[in-house]
Amino acid sequence: MSLCMNMEVAGTLLASSFRGPASMASRLVHQHIVRLPGLLAENWFQSPTNIFAPEGTPAQSIFGLSMFVLAICAAIFLVVAGLLLYTIIRYRHRPSDSDREPPQIYGSNQVELSWTVIPVIIIVVLFLTTTRVIYVTERAHKPKDAVDVIVVGHQFWWEFRYPKLGIVTANELHVPVSDPSHPTPTYLTMTSADTDHSFWVPALAGKMDVIPNKVNTMWIDPLKPGLYLGQCAQYCGVQHAKMLIRVYADTPTQFAAWVAQQKRPAAQDPSAAEGRQVFFHNACVNCHTIQGTSAQGHFGPDLTHLASRSTIASGSVPNTPANIRLFVDNPANFKPGALMPAMHLNDHDLDAVTRYLTSLR
C-alpha cells in the first residue's frame, strides 16, 4: 500500500517538474507537502532494511553504539551551531554602526587549550565505547550448535554451501532462529569467485566484504523468525544493483524440514521429461549443477531445488513459471548484463524447459 503511494507521489512529482514551476509549487503544497511528514514517517518505519530496526545481536549492539554516538554528535551540534548562530546575529553589522573597526583580538592560549582538551575527552569516551563493540562482535565466542555456511559471491548472485549438511543453494539463505538462552548463530565463511562483493542484511548485522583470494567471516543470529532482506554492498559490476539477499530465519522445525527437503535428490517428474531433454542437450549443464545428474557446472546457481525458492535472478523477481520462461529466453529481460547468455530456444523448448525447472522442488 505504502509503496503504491510512494510511486504515485514520485511519479506526479517527476511529471510536475516538467510543467511550470508555479503550478508545480501549488500542486506540491496542496497535494503533497501537507501529507509529506506522514508519508516520510511511514516510509521510515516500514522499510525492511532500516538499520535502526535490529533483529539480531550484532545489529543490536551496533544500534546501541549508534544511538550513543548520535546523541553525542547531536549535543555537539546543538552547542556549536547554537553558538555560531548567536554570534552571527549578535555581531552582525548594523547600519547604525560607526566606521571604526571592532577591537582586534589575536588569540588566547587558555581558550585554545580548553577547546583542545574538551574534544579529546569526548573522543576518549567514544573510542572506548566503540572498541568494546568491535571486540564483542568480532571476537564473539562460537557456540557448539552454530550453523556453518560458506558464502561465495559471484557476478551477480550468491552461492550458499552448508558443508556439515551437504546442501548447496543460491540467493536465499535459510538459517535457524537463535534463541538467546540456547543460541544457534550462523557463521558465514565468505569469499568471492570473481570481483569484490559485500554481504549486507541490515536488520541482522553490519556488512562484511566478500573478496577473492581472501576469506572473511561474520555471524548472524536472527532473534525472530521471518524474512530479512539485504543486498550486495560493494560495486561488483554491471548488475551490482540486482544482487539481492534474502535470509529466511526458520523455527527449528521449519529449518529441519527445509534441510530434509534440500537433501533429497533432484525431482524426476515424468511429465517434465521433455524439458529435461532440452536442459541436458543445451549449454545449461556447463554452468549449472543438478545433483545426481550429469549437470555439474559451477559457474551459475545450483538448480537442484530451484522450485523451492521463492525468487529467481538473485532475489529480483518472483519465482513463477512465466518469469522463469522469460529469464531462460533472455536474462536481460530482468538483469541486463547478467553473465548467463540468452538461450534463444524456440517456444516449444522454452515451455518444456520451464516445466522441467518448475518441477525441481
Binding site: 510512494n6 514520485a10 554516538v69 556549536v80 555581531y91 553589522h93 573597526e101 583580538i105 581472501k214
Partner: protein
C-alpha cells in the same frame, strides 16, 4: 581612483587589442607562463568540467528519482558515476584549488611569479590533457573494434574489477592514464607552490607572517607529495598488470585485491584533506575580512593544519572497516580517525572566535562562508559517526556515506570555492560580481543543497547501498530519492545563475578598484587585475596584515605579533 581604473581597463584588454585578433589572444594564453593566467586557465577548465560532471550527476538523479527506473541502462549508469567521481575529484576539485593557489600564493607573498613558471605551465597543460583524455574514452574506449565507452569501474576502481578479464577494451586504460597524468600535473604544481612559498617571499615575509592561506597551501602541497605518489605507483602497477601481464592485483595468481584498496586509500583519504585545506584557506582569509577582525589564534590555526596534515596520513583504512582487517586494525583506525576531529574542531572554534566580537558584513562571499561553517560542522559530525567502525559496518558504502562526503565536498569545499569566487573575482578581472545575482545564487544553491544532501542520509540509514543503478520499490527509499533528485535541479539552476554572473560581470560588472573589500593582505595592494609583474616595487612587510598596518598606522599589528 581614476588612474587605477584606466590601468585596470588596459590590463585586460592589452593582449587582444595590442597584437590584434583572436589568434594572438589564443597564442598569448597558450604560451603564457604567468602564474595569474595559468591560475585563471585552471579555474576556467575546472568550471567546464564542473558543468560536465554536474550534468552526469543530474542524469543519475533522474534515474534514481523513482524505483525500477529505466531512464538509463545499467552500463550507462555505472559509467556516469565513474566519470562523475573521477571528474569531480581530479578535474574539478584539484584544478580549481590549484588555480586559486597559482593565482593567489605569489600575490600574497609579494612575489612576481611562481618559482618555476615553465614547470607551472607544463603542470597545467598535462592536467588539462588528462581531463580531455578521460572524456575521449567516450569515443574510443573500446578501441577500434566497437562503439566508444567510458570507464565503468568506479572512481576507486577496486581490483580485480579493473583486470583485463573483467574490464576488456580500453576504457579502464583511459581512466588509469588520465588519473596518472593528472597526478603528475598535481605533483608539479604542488612542488611549485612549496618552492614558491619557501624561496620567493618578499622581504620581511617570515614564515610566521605568511597569510594563513599560503600556510594551508604549503601544507596541502606537502600532503600531495606523500599522497598522490602512492596513487601514481598503484596506477603504474595496474598498467603493468593490464599491459605486461603482471600479477599485482591478479587474485587468480595469488595477487591481492586488498592491496589495491590500501594503496588507493593511502592516496584517497589524504586527497580529501588536499581538497579541503584550500577551502579552509579561503575561509581563513574571508571570515576575518568580513568580520573586520584579525584571525583568532593564528599559531593554533597553523599548528592545527600541520597536525591535520600528519594525522591524515594515518587514517586511510577507515575506508576499509568492512574489508575484514580484524579488530586490532579496526580499533587503530577508529582512534586515528577520531583524533583528526580535534585539530579540525580547533579550526571551527577559531573561526567562531574570529566572528565573536566582530562586525559581520553579509556580503555574498561571507554568506557562503557562514553556510560553510554550519555545513562543515555537520559533515565533521557525520564523519565522527562513520569513524566508529561498528557504525560503519552498517553505514559504509551506503548512501549515508555518499551524503557525508558530499557534505564535505559540496557543503564545505564547493561553498568555499563559490565564496572565493565572489571574493577574488574583482582582483582577477577588475570587476565586481553582481551581488544581487550572488544572493539568488546563494539562496537557491543553499536550499537545493539541503534538499539533496540532508535527505540523502536517510536512504543510507534505510539500507540503500551506493552505486546501484536502480532499487526495489518495497524498501522505503523512493520518496527520499525523489526529494534528493528535486534538490539536485535547484542546485543546477543556481550554478547556471552563477556561470551567467561570471560571464555577465566580466563585461558589465561594477569596476572594483584595487581593494574593494578593504582587506589586509598583499594581493589587494596592487591594481585589479594586477599587471603581469604583480608589484611595481617589491613590497616589504612587517606583520601578517601589511595593509592593516598601512591603514591603521596608529595601531599596527606589529605591536601584537
Amino acid at each position: 581612483m581614476a588612474t587605477q581604473t584606466s590601468v585596470t581597463a588596459t590590463a585586460h584588454q592589452a593582449p587582444a587589442g595590442a597584437h590584434g585578433g583572436f589568434f594572438a589572444l589564443v597564442t598569448d594564453w597558450v604560451t603564457t607562463v604567468d602564474h595569474k593566467k595559468i591560475g585563471i586557465m585552471y579555474i576556467v577548465y575546472a568550471l567546464l568540467f564542473l558543468v560536465i560532471a554536474g550534468v552526469e550527476a543530474l542524469l543519475m538523479r533522474i534515474q534514481l528519482a523513482v524505483p525500477n527506473n529505466t531512464f538509463v541502462s545499467p552500463e550507462t549508469f555505472n559509467r556516469l558515476f565513474t566519470m562523475h567521481g573521477t571528474t569531480m575529484v581530479f578535474f574539478v576539485g584539484m584544478p580549481i584549488l590549484f588555480g586559486f593557489g597559482n593565482y593567489l600564493v605569489p600575490l600574497m607573498i609579494g612575489a612576481r611569479d611562481m618559482a618555476f613558471p615553465r614547470l607551472n605551465a607544463f603542470s597545467f597543460w598535462i592536467s588539462a590533457f588528462a581531463g580531455f583524455l578521460l572524456y575521449f574514452s567516450y569515443f574510443a574506449g573500446s578501441g577500434l573494434y566497437g562503439a566508444g565507452t567510458a570507464p565503468d569501474v568506479g572512481w576507486f576502481a577496486y581490483a580485480p574489477l579493473t583486470s583485463r578479464v573483467f574490464s576488456p577494451g580500453h576504457s579502464t586504460d583511459y581512466w588509469t592514464l588520465s588519473v596518472l597524468l593528472s597526478g603528475i600535473g598535481s605533483l608539479g604544481t604542488a612542488l611549485n607552490i612549496v618552492a614558491t612559498t619557501l624561496s620567493m617571499r618578499c622581504k620581511g615575509m617570515k614564515l610566521s607572517r605568511l597569510p594563513l592561506l599560503v600556510w594551508l597551501y604549503l601544507v596541502t602541497s606537502c600532503i600531495a607529495f606523500v599522497a598522490i605518489s602512492p596513487l601514481t605507483a598503484a596506477q603504474i602497477m595496474l598498467l603493468i598488470d593490464r599491459y605486461l601481464g603482471g600479477h599485482f592485483f591478479d587474485t587468480q595468481a595469488g595477487g591481492s585485491a586488498v592491496l589495491w584498496m590500501h594503496f588507493f586509500w593511502i592516496f584517497g583519504h589524504p586527497e580529501v584533506y588536499i581538497l579541503v585545506l584550500p577551502a579552509f584557506a579561503f575561509a581563513n582569509e574571508i571570515i576575518p575580512v568580513f568580520s573586520r577582525k584579525a584571525i583568532f589564534g593564528y599559531p593554533a590555526m597553523v599548528a592545527a593544519t600541520v597536525a591535520i596534515g600528519f594525522i591524515s596520513l594515518g587514517v586511510w583504512a577507515h575506508h576499509m572497516f568492512t574489508v575484514g582487517m580484524g579488530p586490532g586494525a579496526n580499533t587503530f583506525f577508529t582512534l586515528s580517525t577520531m583524533i583528526i576531529a580535534v585539530p579540525t574542531g580547533i579550526k571551527i572554534f577559531n573561526w567562531l572566535a574570529t566572528l565573536w566580537g566582530g562586525n559581520i558584513h553579509f556580503a555574498t562571499p561571507m554568506m557562503f562562508a557562514i553556510a560553510f561553517l554550519f555545513q562543515f560542522l555537520i559533515a565533521g559530525l557525520t564523519g565522527v559517526m562513520l569513524s566508529a567502525s561498528p557504525f560503519d559496518w552498517q553505514l559504509g558504502n551506503s548512501y549515508f556515506v555518499v551524503a557525508h562526503f558530499h557534505y564535505v565536498l559540496v557543503g564545505a569545499i564547493l561553498f568555499m570555492i563559490f565564496s572565493a569566487f565572489y571574493y577574488w573575482y574583482p582582483k582577477m578581472t577588475g570587476r565586481m560580481l553582481s551581488e544581487k545575482l550572488g544572493k539568488w545564487h546563494f539562496w537557491l544553491f543553499l536550499i537545493g543543497f539541503h534538499l539533496t544532501f540532508d535527505f540523502m542520509h536517510i536512504p543510507g540509514l534505510l539500507g540503500m547501498p551506493r552505486r546501484v543503478y536502480t532499487y526495489e520499490a518495497d524498501r522505503g527509499w523512493a520518496i527520499w530519492n525523489m526529494i534528493v533528485s528535486s534538490g539536485a535541479f535547484l542546485q543546477a539552476i543556481a550554478t547556471l545563475l552563477f556561470v551567467y554572473n561570471l560571464v555577465h560581470s566580466y563585461f558589465k560588472g561594477k569596476i572594483a578598484g584595487p581593494d574593494p573589500w578593504d582587506a589586509w593582505t598583499l594581493e589587494w595592494s596592487t591594481s585589479s587585475p594586477p599587471p603581469s609583474y604583480n608589484f611595481a616595487a617589491e613590497p616589504t612587510v612587517e606583520s601578517r596584515r601589511p595593509l592593516w598596518d598601512l591603514k591603521h598606522p596608529e595601531d599596527p599589528d606589529t605591536n601584537y605579533e
